[in-house]
């Protein structure tokens, strides 16, 4: 599953709505406080990584997650 697919599934994004690397809490419906925690948990589970506090506070948009996952050596982001 790609990161975009994971975000769609976790946050129940409407089908057909495009998601880009620049999207984040301000542009994706459902990416609120609770959605954010769900997303962190889903990322950790799907990519078998542990997001540390310093990682989590850097997440402002999709590209930040991709960068963090690459730093952690996660495959196929």
């Amino acid at each position: 599953m790609t990161l975009e697919e994971l975000v769609r599934k976790t946050l129940a994004v409407r089908p057909g709505l495009p998601i880009t690397d620049d999207d984040g809490p301000g542009t994706i419906d459902g990416w609120d406080s609770v959605g954010h925690i769900k997303l962190v948990a889903a990322i950790e589970s799907a990519y078998r990584v542990k997001l540390r506090p310093n990682d989590v506070i850097r997440i402002g948009k999709l590209s930040d997650i991709k960068r963090i996952l690459k730093e952690k050596g996660a495959a196929s982001v």
Partner: protein, 492 residues
């Protein structure tokens, strides 16, 4: 009988005073902006000019987005008060259906919303286009509504709670003493100001000339840390779910602010003991306050400080000054100390009834007493303990959600014949409770996936109302009269 006294709503009036006494002190830090008291006065007066030009008059209602993302929400709110109208604050991501219900009930003179335009609304940004103009004397009757807050009703239709100057001043007087608040307070408020708890803390901070640092929930934990680190926050008001989320996402980062934080207050749900102990370990010098209240009581009914509740697991503290609590074992019989019953409250903070809803008012209000939705008992020392709920609301991280509202949204799906929602433990361990939906498939229908159902609900409900779990069942259990037996679904 209500008082005939008329006055400018307390918080708006004090903001004007602070603009003269401390013009350069920051009033709000929000969305990357810092607004001083002098700037706030000028912008509130300009926004009032805009509202006046759009026909808002004393006694009117104005619906407006009240998010923590822009100072405009606060400025608009105070501008409404300046004109002697009542503010009806709503969530920024309010669903169309809920908004419709609120508009039908309040018949607002104007609707100012952030985000996409809806139902004849004007953009919240347009408040900035106003020009200060002579306005009518801003006086409101002591018992007339200053704000009308909408809360969940068990039938799914929203209940409006008008809070008057009497209620708000009683709340402010009690809390100034309880918290020992001062002008040097810089209070971080991540709870939404469209709800009673967040709005109450905003009122208290502005009333006392402090600085309100508004943060959009726990969406970005970095924002909370930044609020302490860069904006100098020295107090935090938060739901226990927010503290749990901070721990989950930032581990022990709060330790960095041990010498800076004067107090942390939690409300809306009991805080788990393990989280209390962790806070005490990380912030040994900070006071930890716990409160319990309702929108209908204009905020806290009880209050406790760290140490008060040791050995009193499940207690939410003692009544605040001016509040009386009574426990009713039956509608006519008061409970003995230690015996559980429905919690009733009386005092100046207790509102007069629901907005244009005499039937619901009759059910919950009588002789100055308000019957809460909670069951509990009072011990011999006067500490209140919560043991259950009278009605079946789900407490999602402090947001009260009516199962029926979710059920009505689900029933609009063609593949769902019947459904019922109950509270389950949040699988992520953050919000305390989360909704779980039990579903009956309609004849010949294809079973939708969980993802499809969530997308369907996103169109109709705020995100925190979307069930965390779905389960398909052959039959929803019902009583012979057809009422859903939710108790049989709990634990399934």
């Amino acid at each position: 009988m209500g008082s005939r006294t008329k006055l400018m709503p307390a918080v708006a009036s004090k903001v004007l005073d602070w603009a003269a006494a401390a013009p350069d002190r920051p009033a709000i830090v929000c969305g990357g902006e810092t607004v001083t008291y002098a700037q706030m006065k000028a912008r509130v007066e300009a926004a009032a000019g805009f509202l006046l030009r759009r026909g808002v008059r004393p006694g009117d209602r104005v619906v407006l987005s009240a998010g923590n993302s822009s100072p405009r929400c606060v400025l608009g709110h105070l501008a409404i008060h300046l004109l002697g109208a009542a503010a009806v604050p709503v969530d920024e991501d309010i669903s169309d259906e809920r908004l419709r219900g609120i508009i039908d009930k309040t018949e607002p003179a104007l609707i100012a919303l952030s985000g996409r335009p809806r139902q004849g609304s004007v953009p919240l940004e347009s408040l900035d286009s106003g020009v200060a103009a002579p306005r009518p004397p801003a006086t409101v009757g002591f018992d007339e509504p200053v704000d009308i807050l909408f809360t969940a009703g068990t039938t799914g239709s929203p209940k409006g709670v008008p809070q008057s100057s009497r209620n708000i001043l009683a709340f402010l007087n009690a809390h100034v003493r309880l918290f020992g608040v001062s002008e040097s307070d810089r209070v971080v408020i991540p709870v939404p100001i469209s709800h009673g708890y967040g709005l109450g803390r905003l009122r208290l901070t502005l009333f006392t000339g402090g600085t309100a640092i508004l943060v959009r929930g726990l969406l970005q934990p970095a924002d909370i840390l930044r609020a302490f680190r860069e904006a100098g926050g020295n107090a935090l008001c938060c739901a226990p779910a927010g503290i749990a989320a901070l721990f989950r996402l930032t581990e022990d980062a709060l330790r960095e602010f041990a010498g800076q934080l004067r107090y942390i207050e939690t409300a809306t749900a009991p805080m788990p003991e393990v989280d209390k102990a962790r806070l005490a370990r990380l912030l040994p010098g900070a006071k930890l306050y716990e409160s319990y209240g309702a929108t209908e009581t204009t905020g806290s009914i009880t209050h406790a400080e760290r140490g008060d509740l040791q050995g009193r697991r499940g207690s939410v503290g003692r009544p605040i000054p001016g509040v009386e609590i009574r426990i009713m074992e039956t509608p006519r019989k008061e409970a003995e100390p230690g015996r559980p019953g429905r919690i009733l409250v009386r005092g100046e903070t207790v509102t007069a009834g629901y907005w244009r809803d005499p039937e619901r008012t009759r059910t919950a209000y009588a002789d100055g007493w308000f019957a809460t939705n909670d069951i509990g008992y009072v011990d011999a020392e006067g500490f209140l303990f919560l043991t259950g709920r009278q009605e079946e609301l789900i407490n999602v991280g402090g947001f009260k959600v009516a199962p029926m509202e979710i059920e009505l949204a689900l029933k609009a799906h063609p593949a769902i014949e019947e459904c019922a929602c109950v509270a389950v433990v949040d699988p992520h361990g953050i919000t305390g409770e989360a909704p779980k939906a039990f579903l009956e498939l309609a004849p010949s229908a294809r079973k939708p996936t969980e993802e499809e159902l969530k997308v369907f609900l996103r169109e109709r409900l705020e995100s925190y109302k979307i069930p965390a779990q779905f389960a398909w069942v052959e039959r929803i259990p019902r009583t012979p009269s057809g009422k859903v037996q939710r108790s049989l679904l709990k634990g399934c």
